[in-house]
Symmetry: C2
Subunit: 253 residues, 2 copies
């Protein structure tokens, strides 16, 4: 159930890797190796690579995950969203260039911005933002239309339409357990990716209680910074592993 988010911020690298020309790759590989037997998924966040101009590192890390840990799901966290002709290029970015199993996508532009991800050769999945973990998620996601919040309209669209087109999941923040339970009721057994555990303050125990499907499954709970930066000493990989084990244990309580 645990997903380890890879948000590599050079200003927080431990001394053991900081300053190396391939510091980002070395840092991410160490975290991956330390947590791969605990995590069901890795989720690199593309912004951290783009801000460094280091897409090559992201390519190498994705290849590493696919080759070394073939049973682990690779989720590209990109939150893309654009009209069809452009979306097909984002699908190539996620599924061809980075070989992701799934990519996060913003639903605001609607059906024809989602379809190109399903039309892309292969069986890449799409994970739609629904109720995000941040405070600003209230601004528009909680507006009430036809008696229910906008995020429930997104959940229904995914459950009733988009999930018929290809593999779909949804993003619902750990910081909103009631909303998580609401979305679970709407989407049945579809996977829900839950960020916001750890650094953002969400509780893994609460998430498991509110978000699991009737079979106790269907959750992918992400922790990024709490795992990555559990220690900035030479023991950073061991500390990451310990934090990942703690979170995974909470999830199975």
């Amino acid at each position: 159930m645990l997903c380890v988010g890879l948000d590599p911020d050079p200003s927080r690298y431990p001394d053991a890797v900081a300053g190396a020309p391939d510091a980002t790759e070395r840092f991410c590989r160490a975290i991956i190796d330390a947590t791969a037997d605990i995590a069901c998924a890795f989720k690199p966040q593309i912004a951290y690579f783009a801000s460094q101009g280091d897409e090559d590192a992201l390519e190498n890390i994705c290849t590493y995950i696919r080759e070394q840990y073939p049973n682990t799901t690779l989720i590209l966290d990109a939150k893309r969203g654009d009209i069809g002709s452009t979306a097909s290029h984002y699908a190539r970015e996620a599924f061809d260039r980075y070989a992701a199993h799934a990519v996060t996508v913003n639903p605001y532009m609607g059906t024809d911005s989602i379809e190109p991800f399903f039309d892309h050769p292969g069986d890449g999945g799409v994970i739609l933002l629904c109720r995000t973990s941040n405070p600003g998620g209230d601004d528009f996601q909680s507006l009430v239309a036809d008696g229910t919040p906008v995020y429930t309209h997104v959940a229904r669209r995914v459950a009733e339409h988009w999930s018929q087109l290809g593999d779909c999941g949804l993003v619902v923040g750990a910081t909103y357990p009631t909303e998580l339970a609401d979305v679970r009721k709407i989407v049945g057994d579809l996977p829900i990716l839950v960020p916001g555990v750890g650094a953002q303050g969400g509780s893994a125990v609460t998430v498991a209680e509110h978000g699991a499907s009737h079979e106790g499954r269907g959750l992918i709970v992400n922790s990024s910074r709490a795992v990555l930066y559990a220690s900035n000493g030479d023991d950073f990989a061991e500390a990451a592993r310990a934090e990942a084990l703690r979170t995974a244990a909470d999830l199975t309580c």
Copy 2:
């Protein structure tokens, strides 16, 4: 008022540049040189570079625009949107790496996903998706909450709050002239970027009638494919110029 969108698709390059190792740069530079005295802005669409693994070309093209045409606005079309810590990395991508004057951003995640763009050093602007030009824009943007569609809530949030934090604009598709007029009423003189003219079927004349502010200003009307691919012969740059002139003339009618 005319913005030329740079959506470089290798499958549509004219023979004069196709196959060259720097085909994307050569194609874009030729279009830029042919239209820079007509356009007020260029808008590279990052997906087309990312799908080719060619961020270097995008960096070079952005540098070229900034150096050769310093009075032209450079808009990075990226439609990013994420929580604060990640959004600050997207701000670096847009404003530091690509030296954009403004970047398009998806509003779905709300205020704290927008603020990092304003907190970034410099005076980079943010252009928020409001009512997009594609059919799927109806799915959620047109849901009615508190008596008005979601996209008007976005417009009000930009007008009343986000535009107090830094330079803001909005995206409203040419394909929805009534909605364009509604948004103009809400946002006063804020700039509106209008895609959907040309290949997507929107009319430049209609856009100017419905979207201009009371001073007849405030519009940036984008045309991408109709200009870029006006001809696939050796005259592609001249044909792009002729199409840009036609669109610009329509806008000033």
